[in-house]
């Protein structure tokens, strides 16, 4: 079974590129077209496909619609993914308002916050009290949560929601969460991303 995160990220990128190509009217695609679009080598594209048993046609490339079907199936996009957001601060509420997830079949169906002032049950995406999260997760069978709470709270909250049934957490809190059995954690750390950028910009400057 595939455990290589980068490989799966590439599949997502292929998929996105394929939609763009499709929108431009293309029906088939060659490995080197996709490679250019995504910024990898053509070999890499073919090998990634081969890992997942995706095959094309000698001299004919890959048929975009079939390819998308397979990629979408691998990526779990053949069903709507219901997601909750924990923490309705700046980042959390921006994510709730962000429309970009919908076209990816990802739907944020509720937010949760500990602050009573943030509660809003009548909103399109309601913001509910944090202590209702556990029941909500169980009742709705939610598997994925976006964690956007202050770092001090992140560890405790992550353990609670995973105990309630969350299997995957996208963590925005700028600290490393302790591994949780049966729960996958992906970190988005904007400070570190910026630091990283700053480093490579500085290095590039020094090279000159």
């Amino acid at each position: 079974m595939i455990t290589n995160k980068n490989c799966i990220i590439r599949l997502s990128r292929y998929k996105n590129a394929l939609y763009r190509l499709q929108a431009l009217g293309f029906v088939k695609v060659f490995s080197d077209n996709l490679a250019d679009a995504v910024g990898v080598t053509a070999s890499q594209v073919r090998k990634d496909f081969s890992i997942f048993g995706i095959s094309g046609n000698k001299k004919g490339g890959y048929q975009i619609d079939l390819l998308l079907e397979k990629l979408n199936s691998i990526l779990g996009k053949d069903q709507l993914q219901k997601v909750i957001v924990i923490g309705a601060g700046h980042i959390g509420s921006a994510l709730m308002r962000y429309r970009g997830f919908e076209k990816e079949g990802i739907k944020i169906i509720a937010g949760f916050d500990i602050d009573p002032a943030k509660i809003n049950r009548s909103n399109v995406i309601p913001v509910l009290p944090l202590d209702e999260a556990k029941g909500f997760i169980k009742a709705q069978g939610i598997k994925i949560a976006i964690l956007a709470v202050p770092d001090i709270a992140a560890q405790e909250v992550s353990e609670e929601i995973s105990a309630a049934g969350i299997k995957g957490i996208l963590n925005f809190a700028p600290l490393r969460l302790k591994d949780i059995e049966g729960c996958v954690i992906n970190n988005v750390n904007l400070e570190i991303e910026l630091e990283n950028l700053i480093y490579f910009v500085n290095v590039a400057q020094k090279l000159k």
Copy 2:
């Protein structure tokens, strides 16, 4: 010269862990303490340090304050980093309000948007018209930009700002920007992060 992004990310994590240890009163640290804090092996810690010529003391470990000094210097944190945000939509304005960057020595000094309704010159972090960005970047010598514009605009805007002097872009638009000579691009793609999480959650389920 180091081109391994993961290695630099680890340096950031070491740094963050060191601040936490320092806050707890620790003065020195051993490679295995840091390893535990960050979730890597002790060998990895020592090797990372060795790459950057950071040395500790046999049997004495590393002195936290000196270590932090070196890491901060490597990561370019010995000077305030002025950053601008392009695009004052949901994500862009959340980032402008986000306080987490300040303690990292990263200061967002202005936002830019093409929509006149978003302009606000009197704000603490002013939001200025997009067509002032070029002049602003040059006048202030800005090197780093956070790009949070709709995907359709991302490519064009990225080329404009890099022509004006931007050397690093943290791109939130969900598409791959064409490589730009002399400009480093890091992508933060939330859709892909979620997709990735969904994939691994599904895989974990199937394994049972």
